[in-house]
Symmetry: C2
Subunit: 311 residues, 2 copies
C-alpha cells in the first residue's frame, strides 16, 4: 500500500500541490513536513479543464512515480462535498458542476475528497496548526475576501448545503457602505483588502492602484486615512467574530490571510470589538493562523486521513 | 421498570411539570400527549430552595405514586450541562451553583438531566414539534428576551461553555439604541417585548405600562408609532437570523414566544430581512413553533429519552 497523501489546492489563479512524507500521522507536537511541494500559476486564459490538467501533471511530478494512498483537494469556490462536485468558480470559467473528486480519483487511481478552501483551511489549522486540541473552532481568512470554516464537536461542520462559515457576508453595520453582494456593511465590505484599498483611493480622490497590504503599510507609516480605514475594517471583523461567538460559543478563533499581517493595532482592534460584542460568559481567544499559505494543503491531507486508515 | 418520564420546567416565576403517557416514543406523525400536567406560580419571595420543593411536590402529585423512569429538567438561566449544575438565575435568588440534577435524582430516585430553556425548547421542537426531521435547526424564542438554541447534525449543540445560541445579543445595528448588556442595537434590544413597549412609551411621552403584546395590538389597530417599533424589531430579528444562517447554514429556523403572535406584517418583516441578509445560496425556511408553552417540557422529555432506552 502507498505511503503518501497527495494534496491539491485550486486557489483561483494559484495552483499548489504537495506530497506528505507518510500517509499516517501520529499526534505530534510539531506539524509534519512535506516530502515535495510545488506551485503553478493558472494562465489568464485558463479554464477548468486546463487547470485540472496542470494540477494532475504537477501531482504526478511531485509523486515521482509513486501512487498516492489518497488525494485531498481544496477548491477556491463553493463545493458540494457529499457529491464531490465543484459548484462553480468566481475566477476561472468552466467550473460549473465539475465532478472533480471523480476526475482526480480516475487520474491517480486513489480515493479523493474535495471541499471548499475555507472549510479545508479550518481543518488544516485544527489538525496540524493553531487549532490543535480545540473541539469548537472558527477559522476566518481575511484576504481578497473574508471567508470562514467551522470545526464543531471535533469535526468539520458544513451546514445544510455546505455554506456554513460565511462570516464575510454577515451584516455588522446596516448604515455602512454597499457591498457587491447588495447589502450594506457586511464584514467583507469593511475588512477585506480590495475594499479597504478602494475606500482609501476614493478618500484620496486618486487613481493609484492600491492593495490591502498597502493600506496597512500606509497606516503603519502614519497616514490617518489609511489608519481610519484599517481600524474600521478591524472593528467590523471584530463585531462579526463577537456575533459568531455569541451564536456558537467556540473555544478559539483562528485568523489567517494577508490582512492579518497588518500589525498590532489591527489585532487589538479586532480583539477589542470581538470582546465588547460577545457576552461576558462567552470566552474565547483569537490567535493567528499557524500556516502562512499551506493551511488548505494540510487541510486537504486531513480531509482524506480516515480513507487511508480505513484502507 | 417505570413507564413514564417526568418533565420539569423552572421558568423564572412559572413552574410547570408534566408526566408522559409512556417512556418510549416511536416516530410519530402527531406529537405525544401528557398523562398529567400542572403549573404553579413561584411566589414573590421565592428562593431556589422553595422553588425546588414546590417542583418536587408538583412532580410527586402528577406521578401519583409511580416512580419515573427519568426526569428531564428545563431551567430558565445558564446551566453547566455536563455537570448538571445551574449557574444562576436572573429572576430568583439562591440559584448560584445549585447541583439541580443531583437533587432531583435523589428526590425521585431516577436519573435526571438539566439544560437551559432555550436549548431544551430547541430540542422539544426538533423532536416533537416544528423541527422534526431537520438535522440543522435554529430555534429562537422572542418574548421578554430573545434567546436561541441549536440542533446541529441531529444533536443539541451547546458550544464550549454551554452558551451557544445567544442570538439575542448579536449586534445588528451599532448605531441602534443601548441595551442593558451595554451594546447598541443587539437583537434583543430591538425585538423583545419589554424593550419595544418601553420604546413606544418613550415615543408617546407617557407613563402607561405597556407590554410587547400591546405594541403588536396597537400596531394592528393602525397606531403608526407602534407599527414602526414593531417593524424595526422584526427587521432586527430578521438580520440576526440572516447572519446566523450565513454562519451556520441551517435548514430551518423555528420561532417561538409571545411576540411571534404579532401578526402577518411582523412575520413578513422578519422573513424579508432574513432573506436579504442571507446569501442567495443560503436557503432556509422560518416557521412558527409548534408548541405554545410546552416546548421546554417536551424538550426535557427528549433530553432524557436515551437514559430510558439505555436502562
Amino acid at each position: 500500500m502507498s505511503e503518501r497523501i497527495l494534496a491539491l489546492d485550486f486557489g483561483g489563479t494559484k495552483l499548489s500541490a504537495a506530497v506528505t512524507e507518510s500517509a499516517v500521522f501520529t499526534t505530534v507536537d510539531s506539524p509534519p513536513r512535506w516530502h515535495a511541494h510545488g506551485r503553478r500559476r493558472s494562465p489568464p486564459d485558463a479554464s477548468a479543464e486546463t487547470d485540472i490538467s496542470m494540477m494532475i501533471a504537477l501531482g504526478e511530478e511531485l509523486l515521482d512515480g509513486a501512487a498516492p494512498a489518497a488525494v485531498g483537494i481544496s477548491f477556491g469556490g463553493p463545493v458540494d462535498f457529499p457529491a464531490g462536485m465543484v459548484r462553480l468558480s468566481h475566477h476561472v470559467p468552466g467550473w460549473e458542476a465539475v465532478p472533480l473528486q471523480q476526475q482526480i480519483e480516475v487520474a491517480f487511481g486513489a480515493p479523493a475528497r474535495v471541499d471548499n478552501d475555507a472549510n479545508v483551511a479550518a481543518l488544516g489549522e485544527w489538525r496540524f496548526g493553531a487549532g490543535r486540541g480545540v473541539a469548537d473552532l472558527l477559522y476566518v481568512t481575511v484576504s481578497t475576501g473574508v471567508g470562514g470554516g467551522w470545526i464543531l464537536g471535533g469535526r468539520p461542520f458544513r451546514g445544510h448545503a455546505g455554506m456554513a462559515g460565511e462570516i464575510g457576508h454577515t451584516v455588522v453595520d446596516p448604515q455602512g457602505p454597499v457591498c457587491l453582494c447588495g447589502k450594506r456593511g457586511c464584514v467583507e465590505r469593511l475588512a477585506s483588502g480590495p475594499y479597504m484599498a478602494a475606500d482609501l483611493a476614493a478618500r484620496r480622490g486618486d487613481r493609484t492602484a492600491l492593495t490591502g497590504v498597502m493600506v496597512a503599510e500606509l497606516a503603519a507609516a502614519g497616514d490617518p486615512d489609511a489608519a481610519a480605514i484599517l481600524a474600521r475594517g478591524a472593528r467590523g471583523l471584530g463585531v462579526g467574530i463577537g456575533n459568531a461567538a455569541n451564536l456558537i460559543n467556540p473555544w478559539r478563533v483562528v485568523l489567517g490571510g494577508g490582512i492579518t499581517k497588518s500589525g498590532a493595532a489591527w489585532w487589538s482592534g479586532v480583539r477589542a470589538a470581538a470582546a465588547e460584542t460577545a457576552l461576558p460568559e462567552v470566552q474565547f481567544d483569537i490567535v493567528p493562523a499557524f500556516f502562512t499559505d499551506d493551511a488548505p494543503l494540510w487541510g486537504a491531507v486531513a480531509l482524506v486521513e480516515d480513507l487511508v486508515r480505513g484502507g
